[in-house]
Point group: C3
Chain length 202, copies 3
């Protein structure tokens, strides 16, 4: 499941890189950053060094492979990349990645024995979920997605809270429910363009 | 005192977010980043993980509350936000935050037993002082404040040097003197537009 | 040799700062960031805290001195800074820094006892090599150099792979060969404008 989330986020990084006219190496770096950045932040904040991405190369390899697939698609099937269907694939895979990484982040805090500190667990779940995307956007020179997109970090926050609430009762099942909640909130928010209140231009 | 500095920096983050038309969630994230970013950097560089902000939720809660107050002010008292008085409140609170965090950063190095390494203490004091602001500006897509504002990191540097010089003789009082020195230099520099030499446009 | 790499990278940071019209303090901070940023990232990811730059002030002092020299040059010899010769000095010193830091990064992983994990050694070599430059560009508000310049991170990657391949057979000599390989690939790539494939504008 974590591999799926990794691939999904790598696709989002690779697509960002293509929009910025980066070359094939840049596409891979951006895919890697989006896919593994959140996990590296999580591990550094937890004191688990070297971070998991260096200890288990399978995640980085998955991210690079997914990025290369996107690059080849852009070369061979440029029309597909602009299609409405592709937009949807991107939204769904990104929402999936957000859900998976939020759940994984909460799980990592519990595993490390900080289960009593719900605040930490929720916070690190959100950082794991959105961190890769924030790093991706900073490197690309974009305003981070979480400040722009409807209910992005919010979906992750709701999922992390749910995961912590159900942890004792449900164990592993809490992670699955978290994933589903994040996915549902994120996709519905994008579909119906939910948004949070803003102040009138200051 | 650290809570005061946290609230002061959160206000600066929230105001930045409002200028960028972010929604209420973005305002809170930017407030949190500005208020807690410097401390997280300090703790990661010191090897104190999980960082204090996760172990003591009161700081993050203070930051979020301060950010929400700013958001409500922007909704209800938009005129006040544009007033000269508000600019001054912002300057004073930011200078206070800079002083508090610089002193706290030096103190953390001393506490961790690296007191013999003055270079490290001074450096980490400055990073704790300016780190949150730098992260805030990078996330907002602005050129970091420390490269733009007159004598900002410099004020922090002077305070950190003073704090280290007086540490053995004065202990806790050194932190207070550091705070006052940073505050005074920063406010005077802003008032009289002091600036450092630049090279003619290269 | 590491001091040479530090000075070389500091020059690149200082020049970036001058182009952005920063004052003398900004020039020093950018020099420091470019010169020491990669090493700090490496040490945090390896769990070696406080990072080497805080334990051995000589590197930071070298970086600040090199930055001040650049600043003085810009004041006194503005014409030289725009000359073709200076461009070349910059390219050569930057390529040298990239080579040195890549080799040092691989060496640090080996030293820390993770020699069996070639993936980690290569990855951290590249992060050490390009990290300072990426931080420099993010702070300056530029698109990171590694996404723009021909064969920059690629040169570092090739060198890191070579270094790992020769490590058992050659020991210290592997580091020297890595340095030479990175330097040669980077300079040749800049000279002959080698570039990697891009997708047609998406």
């Amino acid at each position: 499941m974590e591999l799926l989330g990794t691939a999904a986020f790598a696709v989002s990084g690779a697509v960002t890189a293509l929009k910025k006219q980066m070359d094939v190496f840049g596409v891979c770096i951006m895919g890697l950053t989006a896919a593994c950045g959140g996990g590296v932040l999580r591990d550094v904040l937890l004191g688990r060094v070297p971070p998991a991405m260096f200890r288990e190369p399978v995640y980085a390899l998955t991210a690079v492979l997914a990025s290369l697939v996107v690059f080849l698609l852009a070369l061979r099937r440029a029309a597909f990349m602009k299609s409405h269907l592709f937009e949807r694939v991107l939204l769904v895979s990104d929402a999936l990645g957000l859900g998976v990484f939020t759940a994984v982040g909460v799980d990592a805090v519990m595993d490390a024995g900080y289960g009593g500190n719900v605040f930490f667990a929720v916070f690190l779940g959100v950082i794991t979920g959105v961190g890769g995307g924030v790093l991706r956007d900073v490197l690309a020179g974009d305003r981070p997605y979480i400040f722009v997109k409807h209910i992005y970090a919010c979906a992750s926050l709701l999922g992390a809270l749910l995961c912590c609430a159900l942890w004792r009762a449900a164990g592993e099942a809490a992670m699955l429910l978290c994933l589903l909640a994040v996915f549902a909130v994120r996709v519905l928010a994008a579909r119906y363009r939910w948004s949070l209140p803003k102040a009138p231009s200051a």
